[in-house]
């Protein structure tokens, strides 16, 4: 009975054990938070990439012969049982300039032109093959999106003439464009404003020293929001049918976004499509999965997450050092007690157990504290971040640096429990060393100890 009793008194009666518990707790808490953030980054990155990238992207090589019609390509792709939908579309780099905002004196022309990807879509197809609908709905459902949302979800490019802000443009049959909500806010653009979008038409000879550019005026019909800053900052949606005239191309599409059925093996699908397209259409297509497209970025995030394991190793070492020192100190201070316990008939095993239990208490209470603190921090991470930023006037998390508006957090309770468990077990194991030393102490030496 004395084992638990004395262990409790030794542990709870000494401030240093609380310090050790706090140290263990902080280590566990930090690790839980870091694990949550790193997993959050990965999950968020994947979510965002998946949300803004089709499962599989098929690109024809136009120099490989006549590109078949989009209907034909879509038909071949959709014939695969793993394919849910295929959306042929255009995608091409361009620059835009805000119409009616002419440069301030001395500013270089580049300062008012912004790089973008212009994506020409068929709304119905795009909605089936990507989360296009959700991007539009995000603005509609956002209270701050008032005045920016599209008029109609089914026909997002529709805009009442009366809303075109420049009266001169009201009666010209101008194509429409959708722009990211965040981008409209930062440029101070409103629905009905016009953009001049410039690209290089297919007819241009890129080898000559100067070549033609093709410019069209587009009217902003509404905003979308993928919550993925990098995508939002660099993408404009236009109707596919308006694309060829602006871009000076005679093709119907230059890529196909493919949505696979739930749980499909994308690698297998990729190889099947490469084969079937080649067989049916007799030309080469490049087929990429969403992971292929973003391999470098995903790899970087995954690599960062692996650093976590190294970090975990260091934290374990730290926790073990702390508990080991505290327990060793305890044993050294209690040498006399060990002698008296022996004189009262405590066995060596019993004496060892007193100290081992002390270690178990410190490790368990510390771990438990860390688990609770970690869970709390994980749950309130962005509140804590906001508070620190507001109180100390520093910026911890810059949404422009990362692709996300909040610190991403994927709080995996099972992982947290695992982190805590491994830490506690490691601490308990290291405590066995001083505990065994206590058990092996000669009782007479212990009693004679000064």
């Amino acid at each position: 009975m004395y084992k638990l009793f004395l262990a409790g008194r030794y542990t709870l009666g000494r401030p240093v054990s609380y310090l050790a518990m706090v140290a263990i707790g902080l280590a566990v808490m930090a690790l839980i938070a870091v694990a949550g953030i790193m997993n959050g980054f990965l999950a968020e990155t994947e979510r965002v990439i998946r949300g803004t990238t089709a499962d599989v992207i098929v690109t024809p090589f136009p120099w490989d012969g006549e590109v078949p019609s989009r209907a034909k390509v879509a038909e071949v792709i959709e014939a695969h049982p793993s394919v849910k939908a295929a959306a042929p579309r255009f995608s091409r780099p361009a620059v835009f300039k805000m119409r009616g905002r002419d440069s301030a004196m001395g500013l270089s022309k580049f300062a008012e032109h912004f790089m973008v990807s212009v994506v020409g879509i068929d709304v119905e197809n795009e909605s089936r093959a990507t989360e296009f609908d959700a991007y539009l709905a995000a603005v509609r459902n956002n209270p701050e999106g008032e005045g920016y949302a599209v008029e109609s979800m089914e026909r997002p490019f529709r805009l009442d003439r009366g809303r075109i802000r420049d009266p001169e443009l009201r009666f010209a049959p101008l194509p429409r464009v959708l722009m990211a909500h965040s981008r409209m806010l930062s440029f101070g653009l409103k629905v009905g404003d016009a953009l001049e979008i410039v690209t290089i038409p297919d007819s241009s000879d890129l080898d000559s020293k100067s070549f033609d550019a093709s410019t069209s005026t587009f009217v902003i019909a509404g905003a979308y929001d993928t919550s993925y800053d990098k995508f939002d900052g660099a993408t404009l949606f236009v109707p596919r049918e308006d694309f060829p005239a602006w871009a000076g191309t005679d093709q119907e599409f230059n890529e196909v976004a493919v949505q696979a059925v739930e749980g499909a093996d994308l690698e297998a699908l990729k190889h099947d499509l490469e084969e079937s397209l080649e067989r049916e259409l007799r030309m080469a297509f490049e087929v990429e999965t969403w992971e292929d497209r973003h391999a470098t970025w995903l790899g970087a995030v995954k690599n960062e997450r692996n650093i976590l394991f190294v970090l975990f190793g260091f934290f374990l070492l730290l926790v073990c050092t702390i508990t080991f020192s505290v327990l060793t100190m305890l044993v050294q201070q209690k040498v006399r007690d060990i002698g008296i316990l022996s004189s009262m008939g405590a066995t060596a095993g019993g004496i060892g157990a007193v100290f081992a239990l002390s270690g178990v208490m410190i490790a368990t209470l510390g771990g438990l504290f860390g688990l609770l603190a970690g869970e709390l921090l994980a749950a309130k991470l962005n509140t804590v971040k906001d508070w620190i930023e507001a109180t100390f006037g520093v910026q911890i998390f810059d949404r422009r640096v990362y692709a996300f508006s909040e610190i991403p957090m994927d709080n995996d309770h099972l992982l947290n429990l695992g982190i805590t468990g491994v830490t506690v077990i490691a601490a308990v194991f290291i405590c066995l060393i001083p505990a065994l030393r206590a058990a092996w102490l000669d009782p007479v030496d212990a009693l004679r100890h000064e």
């Binding site: 004395y2 030794y10 008296i340 316990l341 022996s342 004189s343 008939g345 066995t347 095993g349």
Partner: protein, 259 residues
């Protein structure tokens, strides 16, 4: 009266014969005990006096099963102990031996009452403790009250005087109803008056309960009140002439050998 043997025909609590204990320090060897003998009857009180460093503590550690002799036999409560396992010796120590040390050796984190309950906690396992706790507590409390500490049950050692601490230590040593109480200079760290009163309490208690007691002391007054008084001479216990010890502390012990 001063004899190494107890009155015949009484039950022996302790029967130690030919105890040898030597310490090795590198090349040199220190023969502290060289065949010490001690028989103790139930209820008997024996005092051991002697200069510092002659091996009194070493002997008590052997008698209390904290240490093993290099040679000799040790019977405690009828059980031959030298060949027993560590665990068996620990159990025997818990049941039959109570120690009181010069420097009290109380647990600073525990109250007086909890200190006195410790032997009981060691005796009873975790699951038996529920049913035994009240009994152990009553026994410890009664002892502390008998030792005039009834008002100090909840006090920690740090809040007690030296004399009070030693009384707690005595209560703790007696709490397990040991067959044998071993006191190693219990008043060596106390002033004269406190020492006097503690001695009175200790001897009164021992006589009341018929407690066998081995008392190592520097105090001739104390030694004189024991049933027998022995001293260490050349690693053995021999009867002490108390008067001689007092008059000539450095002189060799009185002549007169065990029969």
């Amino acid at each position: 009266m001063s004899d190494v043997h107890p009155p015949a025909a009484k039950e022996l609590v302790l029967d130690a014969r030919g105890l040898t204990r030597r310490y090795r320090m590198g090349a040199t060897q220190l023969d502290v005990l060289q065949g010490a003998e001690l028989q103790l009857a139930r209820g008997e009180i024996v005092a051991i006096i002697g200069r510092s460093g002659v091996g009194k503590s070493t002997l008590l550690h052997l008698l209390g099963l904290l240490d093993r002799p290099d040679a000799g036999s040790m019977k405690l409560a009828g059980v031959e102990t030298t060949k027993l396992s560590k665990a068996a010796r620990a159990r025997l120590r818990n049941q039959h031996v109570g120690f009181v040390f010069q420097f009290y050796h109380l647990f600073p984190e525990l109250s007086a009452l909890e200190n006195a309950m410790l032997p009981g906690m060691i005796t009873h396992r975790f699951f038996a403790w529920r049913s035994k706790r009240a009994g152990v507590r009553e026994r410890a409390k009664a002892l502390l009250e008998r030792l005039e500490l009834g008002e100090r049950l909840k006090h920690k050692p740090g809040q007690l005087s030296g004399g009070e601490r030693q009384r707690v230590a005595i209560a703790r040593a007696l709490a397990g109803r040991p067959s044998l109480l071993l006191c190693d200079e219990p008043t060596g760290n106390l002033d004269e008056r406190t020492s006097e009163s503690i001695t009175n309490l200790l001897l009164d208690l021992a006589r009341e309960h018929g407690q066998s007691l081995v008392l190592v002391t520097h105090d001739p007054e104390l030694a004189r009140r024991a049933d027998r008084c022995l001293t260490m001479h050349e690693g053995r216990l021999v009867p002490a002439e108390v008067a001689t010890e007092i008059a000539h502390p450095s002189a060799s012990p009185a002549s007169g050998s065990p029969e």
